[in-house]
Amino acid sequence: MQRTNFKRMKATLRLLYVLPFLLTLNAASARLRVVATTPDIAALVQEVGGSEIDLVTLARPTEDPHAVEPKPSLMVKLNRADVLIHGGAELEDGWLTPLLQGARNAKIAPGAPGNIRANQGVPMLEIPSVLDRSAGDIHAAGNPHYLVDPVNAKLAAATITEALTRLDPGSASVFRANYTRFSAVLDAKLEQWRKLMEPARGRHAAAYHNSWVYFARRFGFTIDLFLEPKPGIPPSPGHLAEVVSKMKQEQARIILTDSYLDRRTAQTVASRAEAVVVEVSHFPGGIKGTEAGYIPLLDKLVGDIAAAFKTNQP
């Protein structure tokens, strides 16, 4: 009886010796669990993190990023995350805030080292001087749709690299190498995209929602007409008539419409203003042929928008 007890004790002791090693092994092989709010941020995180991280995206590419359903399953994903990377410009506030409150994860709580704003260092446009809801659904942090400018995407990728490196120093060399490769591709691509976008230079375009200013500014055209009278406010017939006449005046011949918006309204305006609708998305997978990542998305956007400018000369 005593003998068996002793034996069992020895076995327990042996396990106690092994346990710390098992735990270290586990920690070493555990990859950083990263949650990205929107698919554009996720695409950049994927470029930098590669196979060294486990990545989860909360919003789907086809849906309106302002109004993602705060499903309890998303709360669980946030509960288990090591890092949360979000836009940092209030785009996700309506649904991310309650999810984060329920997630009870101190690592990614606002202000914690694992709560990363992807727009750190990004020069934000349209920061309102006066915050008034009568101006529609505007964001105090500026226009939050900044990642369709490849230069901003590069800045965000650098921020992501810095964050991942800090949180998982063991994989730092991989993250840095991935970033270097991605930014080189981006630089080369930007030259190509600039050339392709030549036909757009100095021209005007309209958009359904005010989410394409960063893209327009980068490629030298202007978007100052919106089908929504104010951001988030549905178009009224009176406003649309005004948009049509201004489009004719400015010779704006294309309307950029995010894939989740009402294409029929855009189509009606386009036919009256002798313009065309270009279906666009901020997110890889938001429109067909862009599923593979950020570069394929920009390839498609530049291709489609440049073609529309070219074939619809004033």
Partner: protein
């Protein structure tokens, strides 16, 4: 005006966040009433997936009770919730601890411990009066006064509300949430020394929601929410001869003051609501409501109040209601709602009512929960 709600929320420090919802109402006499609907602090970084909330809190029972009126999909509360928890819902001073279980799907266990006394603890020590009976408006619930208030001696004299909820994503666009709740506590029904009278309320709920994969501002969507509740209420013994004002309840046969025995009352109720957000900003809704209770001994027709012979207690009688409505949200900060109620009360007959509700919201985005 139904009310003006001021809601404040924010981080107190790195360890706590706070929330307060204060309701201002102007009554028909022009007097302003102020009510603290909720005011609580919550921990931000408790270990082991725990979260503690303390203060004036809405009890986490089912789906409807822990929501503020401005979040309701209908003008009024479901019948069964109004009957069991009163017009203001079940809320009181107390604390709630919740635990997010380490399951692969969402699974949360909550326990709320609250004061069982006061106007917002109907069915418990806040035991209400019967409403809607014209001849005997001041008759107490179950025809007996709530004089049986034992003091707090242990945790069993508090209002205890456990709840368990779990949720699954049925597909990319469909979510299901299932929950079960219970509320236990003492009630004050009956005369002094009327015995250990207690109330138990049990509920189950299910919510299903579909949101299009290409939704714009959350539209189109379809959601179904349903809850079923049961209440077991001990009505304590009461002798109307002990009342000294002389005009109480009398026995119909003898004319002597009525003597009510202790009895257990069972009530049931359920509602189901369907919402269809058919285009941006427009939601059509339909709600079916019912409540019914087993006939108590005190409802057997043996008693009279003054010259009124008393039968079925209107506050426990069968009732069902059908409510279609249409809501238009010009933006997410304002709404206009039109609702019709077909209301069939077995003791009073059928009522038709039409409601028009207008609401606006100032300030930051209303963060909305699932």
């Amino acid at each position: 005006m139904q009310g003006l709600e001021l809601s404040l929320s924010g981080a107190v420090d790195p360890y706590f966040r706070a929330n307060a919802n204060i309701l201002f109402q102007v009554d028909s006499g022009g007097e302003t009433l102020v009510e603290v609907e909720e005011a609580w602090m919550e921990t931000v970084s408790l270990p082991a997936n725990l979260q503690l909330r303390a203060g004036q809190i809405m009890t986490d029972f089912g789906r409807h009770n822990p929501t503020h009126p401005h979040q309701w999909a209908f003008v009024d509360a479901p019948l069964v919730l109004a009957r069991f928890f009163g017009p203001d819902g079940l809320r009181n001073l107390g604390a709630r601890i919740s635990w997010l279980a380490p399951t692969p799907f969402y699974s949360e266990l909550m326990l709320t411990v609250q004061n069982s006394h006061g106007g917002t603890a109907s069915s418990f020590r806040g035991g209400g009066h019967s409403h809607g009976h014209e001849a005997a408006e001041h008759l107490p619930f179950a025809l007996r006064h709530a004089d049986n208030d034992r003091s707090i001696e242990g945790v069993e004299d508090m209002l205890l509300t456990p709840r368990y909820a779990m949720s699954f994503d049925l597909s990319d666009t469909q979510v299901l949430l299932l929950g079960t709740s219970a509320a236990f506590g003492p009630n004050s029904s009956g005369g002094q020394g009327g015995g250990e009278t207690r109330t138990e309320i049990y509920g189950i709920d299910a919510t299903w929601k579909w949101k299009a994969v290409t939704h714009h501002a959350g539209f189109p969507f379809v959601s179904v929410q349903t809850e079923a509740l049961v209440r077991r209420y001990d009505a304590g013994a009461f002798d109307w001869a002990d009342e000294d004002d002389g005009n109480g309840l009398s026995d119909l046969a003898t004319g002597a003051p009525a003597t009510l025995d202790r009895e257990t009352l069972l009530d049931y109720g359920a509602y189901a609501q369907l919402l269809y957000g058919f285009r941006k900003g427009w939601v059509a809704g339909l709600r079916v409501d019912c409540v019914f209770g087993t006939r108590g001994d005190y409802e057997s027709g043996r008693f009279a109040f003054g010259d009124d012979e008393l039968g079925r207690d209107p506050s426990r009688a069968d009732r069902w209601r059908l409510s279609p409505n249409l809501t238009w949200y010009p933006t997410e900060f304002s709404k206009i709602r039109f609702q019709y109620n077909f209301d069939d009360r077995k003791t009073e007959g059928i009522d038709h009512s039409v409601w028009l509700q207008f609401e606006f919201l100032l300030g930051a985005h209303a963060a909305h929960k699932f």
